[in-house]
């Protein structure tokens, strides 16, 4: 069958999956603050009714009620969506429309997710068709699994437009993979200006481009540096133009985007500090100044991967560095939200090369059950996770490629030479089964059982600790892989 028809069928299935999840009733949240849905609606209200200079400061705009805390591009996007006024002005009336909800409005909000379709899905399709190896059926299989990644589908349903920022970052990655450095940097700058969380990916982009600059000759080096620098600055300037008139306004925006007054972490998130908190109460030990220590910790974690990328700026190392960097930031950074694990979605880029580890990690990253239970997404969670697991294992034959060579674990041998040689494939497979069984068991328990009264947070804590262990393991594994030899260019066995 022709590739275009297979690709369109996969894209249509992805659309149906996303729309099907969005058919669930939005969890309205309670007054006075309601939920993330209300936040989006409020931003449309603010951006439509107020002049640009007032988006981020207080005069007419109560910042405590869901003030804008994303960079300007999100504000512009909300402004475009606010053309909802033409359908029904009540939706965005200043001050009066707080907490507004109706079926039509929900339908409208769902349709605005088309932005996700226009930006994210084409990037995925192009990446899989042009930057993955293998037969066209293999490429379509990878694309299908990539599009089915449950984390993004489920999170975007309730927490909006992560697909846009990830999509823009993906366009950046795609462009860099094809060698179009200027376009890639422009796309990534746009992604940064959309959601500041993309900073998790900034270091790999920087190191990759810098590494490429170093590798080329003197004139080429200067030329590339200038081109990329100018592009980035120009993109930033364009997005921030309305706020550059007064430095204080720009500072106010920065203060909104990086709220340093908040605590170490919120809720139960699967990073190091929250998990350590269960053993030693870190939150009370570390004060506000300790942010510098945390920053140092994070940078230390990111450093090995980035240095390796600087010395060997190939696309393969770039992909690994993206995953490692986002994991490092997630695990060690300040004020991390559960959904930031989405930023490790670049692991989808590795579905073709390292199917088992990529899918294992992606499945663990979807294991955010308490959040989904709060959003009322239990059934979609089960269905999408099952679908992703099943099709990844079936189409990419992930469990077959477990040998030492395939997992690129040559470096392990050098590290642990004293450990007797065991059948690595067997061990890995069994670890995978046990881990999936644990996640399934915990999911069922969290959904069905009620926590005992003296341990009210039992299940969220168990879930986040399990996820944390997975993420830590993945982080270490991918760092080891980055220091092993790159994949050999020999053609893999084609088994049709």
């Amino acid at each position: 069958m022709q590739t275009w028809s297979l690709v369109s069928i996969c894209v249509l299935l992805a659309i149906i999956a996303r729309w099907g999840v969005s058919l669930n009733s939005y969890s309205a949240g309670k007054p006075p603050m309601f939920g993330d849905y209300e936040a989006q609606r409020h931003w449309q209200e603010v951006t439509y009714n107020l002049p640009i200079q007032e988006y981020f400061n207080t005069t007419n705009n109560d910042l405590n009620y869901w003030g804008l805390d994303y960079p300007p591009l999100t504000a512009y996007h909300s402004w475009i969506c606010a053309y909802a006024k033409t359908i029904n002005p009540e939706w965005v009336e200043l001050h009066k429309s707080r907490g507004y909800e109706s079926t039509q409005h929900k339908l409208f909000m769902r349709t605005t997710l088309v932005a996700d379709l226009l930006i994210y899905i084409p990037a995925v399709v192009l990446y899989c068709l042009y930057l993955t190896d293998g037969s066209s059926k293999k490429k379509v299989s990878v694309m299908f699994c990539f599009l089915l990644y449950p984390g993004l589908i489920l999170i975007d349903y309730g927490h909006f437009y992560n697909g846009v920022s990830l999509g823009l970052a993906l366009w950046g990655i795609l462009a860099l993979g094809l060698g179009w450095d200027v376009l890639g940097s422009m796309a990534f700058s746009l992604a940064l200006n959309y959601k500041q969380m993309e900073l998790y990916h900034a270091l790999p982009f920087f190191c990759y481009l810098l590494g490429k600059c170093i590798k080329t000759g003197l004139m080429g080096r200067l030329f590339l540096l200038v081109r990329v620098g100018v592009t980035v600055l120009a993109t930033f300037a364009l997005c921030w133009l309305p706020f550059l008139a007064e430095p204080s306004q720009a500072m106010q925006v920065v203060r909104r985007i990086f709220p340093v007054a908040r605590g170490l972490f919120e809720d139960k998130v699967a990073n190091t500090w929250c998990s350590l908190n269960t053993l030693i109460k870190i939150r009370s030990i570390l004060s506000g100044d300790s942010q510098l220590y945390l920053l140092a910790c994070t940078l230390l974690a990111v450093l090995p991967s980035c240095i390796r990328l600087l010395t060997k700026p190939t696309f393969w190392h770039f992909k690994l560095a993206l995953v490692n960097s986002s994991l490092a930031f997630f695990l060690f950074s300040f004020q991390v939200h559960e959904k930031s694990i989405l930023l490790a979605a670049p692991a989808c880029l590795l579905l073709n090369d390292l199917p088992l580890m990529a899918l294992w990690f992606l499945q663990a990253s979807t294991f955010m059950l308490p959040l989904f239970l709060k959003d009322g997404l239990l059934v979609p969670y089960i269905v999408t996770s099952l679908g992703f697991l099943f099709f990844s294992i079936y189409l990419l034959s992930a469990l077959d490629h477990c040998s030492e060579d395939k997992l690129r674990l040559g470096a392990y041998n050098k590290l642990f030479y004293w450990v007797p040689k065991m059948d690595l494939a067997f061990i890995v497979r069994w670890k995978f089964y046990i881990s999936i069984a644990a996640m399934v068991g915990l999911s069922i328990a969290a959904a069905v059982l009620v926590a005992p009264p003296h341990l009210p947070d039992l299940f969220p804590v168990l879930v986040s600790t399990t996820a944390f262990l997975h993420f830590l393991g993945t982080f270490i594994h991918f760092n080891v892989v980055q220091f092993s030899e790159p994949p050999s260019r020999k053609s893999q066995k084609k088994s049709n």
Binding site: M1, A17, W19, R110, G387, F390, F391, S397, S495
Partner: protein
């Protein structure tokens, strides 16, 4: 691809079952409440009251075996939410109820999945190893399991057609495998589950009598009266009567048979369903309306003489035609019988094995769709699903299949009229159409084009009609004055396609030479 030859079927089945789960929260039609009511009736009331209960307007109008099926389901329903099983709780739809009912459809579809697998086994595979995606059995599996009409009607609109079609397709598969007694048993069960399949009973009757009861034919294909086997006839009769006895027995014993029959065959409804099925009567109605309007314009008729009740009012009631003669149930019955007579005669005089039977079955289904009384557009699925089997084997049938499927599926669009479901139905339809066109074209690529240019133009016109009805019309000023115009246009346009497919299928049955069965 690493998938080996036997594992693609479970993958397809798992995939479509997971897809069905995405529709759990989607729009549900009144059929949801119908089945909940039946769960309540069969669970809470004694058997003697099942066909008398009318607290709700949705009375039990399927045969007794289906009532027993609902009784079985109600035992499981108890664990989800016992409140749904109370007859007084009309329109009860708690989240647990919705989840249970939707899951029950998804789970009972396992019958359909099994039947699809059996059909895939019966398909003739051409010689030479092929890529999985171009194997006829794979294409058939997708066309059956991922059929757009079934997904729409069963899993969004809500009904148990997958379960019922499983029986039909399994029966057909058994006949294709020459296990006629099993096929007859399955069909008898099916008839007692939903009596609409009576429409295809003539095909079964003629085929089994001619090809099973007469064990041998003369050399020229004509009937050899001496080879009549009374034993086989008695076996068939025993099967059918025992199934019917099992199903209707208790009610006959209680003397309730007339009441049951009156529930099963309500003739007070109108010629056309609220949404006109794309059959002959839709064209007839339009012709009548046009002639009436023309007559008034040309001063041949007085406007005052025309009956006031309008067909486009969309209400299910009896009405009269103004210019052309009125149509009564008896007339439709005669037309239906006349339309299927040539097909039945053809397989009596020149039996062509099980595939000839399948064609006759299709023609009975389509004929009754075209000429029947109060036909629902969902009934087009009875023709589309079996035609899939023929479509993967023959190029001509593939062409007819594409036309019938596209128009038949599109005529189901008005069933889902909510804006929230619009992207779903468009995406599902596109998916199925893209697959069926490209896969069938690849399958029969050696033998030339599947569709004539005029047919392609007709199908492209369907896209234009779709855009006009779904997008342009709701935003235009005629929305208030003529709210049923898009339905009318849809059913008339599709009726043309369905009639054309009917005629072509007839031609292929009557003019075709012997189907030589190849060794599998």
């Amino acid at each position: 691809m690493a998938a080996d030859s036997c594992s693609w079927f479970p993958a397809l089945a798992v995939g479509v079952s997971l897809l069905k789960c995405f529709f759990i929260s989607a729009y549900r039609s009144t059929d949801f409440e119908v089945h909940r009511n039946w769960l309540a009736i069969t669970h809470s009331l004694p058997v003697s009251r099942w066909y008398y209960e009318n607290a709700s307007e949705w009375t039990l109008d399927y045969p007794p075996l289906f009532a027993w099926f609902e009784f079985g389901l109600s035992q499981v329903a108890r664990r989800f939410d016992a409140n749904m099983l109370q007859v007084e709780k009309l329109n009860y739809a708690s989240p647990a109820t919705v989840l249970f009912q939707r899951l029950s459809v998804i789970v009972t579809d396992v019958v359909f999945i099994y039947a699809a697998r059996e059909c895939c086994r019966c398909v003739r595979e051409p010689k030479g190893s092929r890529d999985i995606l171009s194997q006829p059995s794979f294409v058939l599996a997708v066309l059956l399991l991922w059929n757009f009409g079934l997904l729409l009607v069963d899993h969004i609109h809500f009904q148990y057609n997958g379960f019922l079609f499983g029986f039909l397709l399994l029966s057909v598969a058994k006949h294709l495998q020459s296990q006629h007694l099993q096929g007859a048993l399955l069909f008898a069960l099916l008839l007692n589950l939903k009596h609409i399949y009576l429409y295809v009973a003539p095909a079964y009757g003629v085929y089994l009598l001619r090809s099973y009861c007469f064990t041998q034919d003369n050399k020229d294909g004509s009937i050899r009266w001496s080879s009549f086997s009374l034993l086989r006839l008695l076996a068939l009769g025993a099967i059918v009567t025992s199934v019917c006895a099992l199903s209707f027995g208790p009610f006959i014993a209680m003397g309730q048979l007339p009441q049951v029959l009156s529930r099963l065959f309500p003739f007070k409804r109108g010629l056309c369903h609220a949404y006109w099925a794309p059959n002959i009567w839709a064209l007839y109605n339009v012709l009548d309306k046009t002639l009436a309007v023309l007559g008034v314009r040309l001063k041949l008729l007085e406007e005052a003489e025309l009956p006031l009740a309008s067909m486009t009012g969309g209400l299910v009631q009896e009405f009269e035609h103004s210019v052309l003669p009125s149509v009564t149930p008896a007339v439709t019955l005669v037309c239906t019988l006349l339309s299927i007579l040539p097909a039945a005669a053809s397989i009596w005089l020149r039996p062509r094995g099980a595939r000839g039977f399948l064609r006759c079955l299709l023609l009975c289904a389509l004929g009754s769709f075209m000429f029947g009384w109060h036909v629902h557009e969902k009934a087009i699925l009875i023709a589309i699903l079996p035609l899939s089997i023929l479509a993967v084997e023959s190029r001509e049938d593939a062409g007819i299949f594409l036309i019938l499927t596209t128009t038949g599926h599109y005529s189901l669009f008005p069933l889902l009229f909510t804006p929230a479901e619009l992207p779903m139905k468009v995406a599902l339809m596109l998916m199925f159409s893209i697959f069926s066109f490209t896969a069938l074209r690849k399958l029969h690529s050696a033998q030339g084009f599947l569709l004539h240019p005029l047919e392609v133009i007709y199908l492209l016109g369907l896209v234009a009609v779709a855009i006009a009805c779904e997008v342009v019309f709701p935003l235009s000023p005629w929305q208030q004055r003529l709210p049923f115009l898009p339905l009318l246009v849809t059913s008339v346009y599709c009726a043309v396609g369905v009639c054309y497919a009917f005629l072509r299928l007839y031609a292929s049955l009557l003019l075709r030479r012997e189907d030589k069965p190849k060794l599998l």
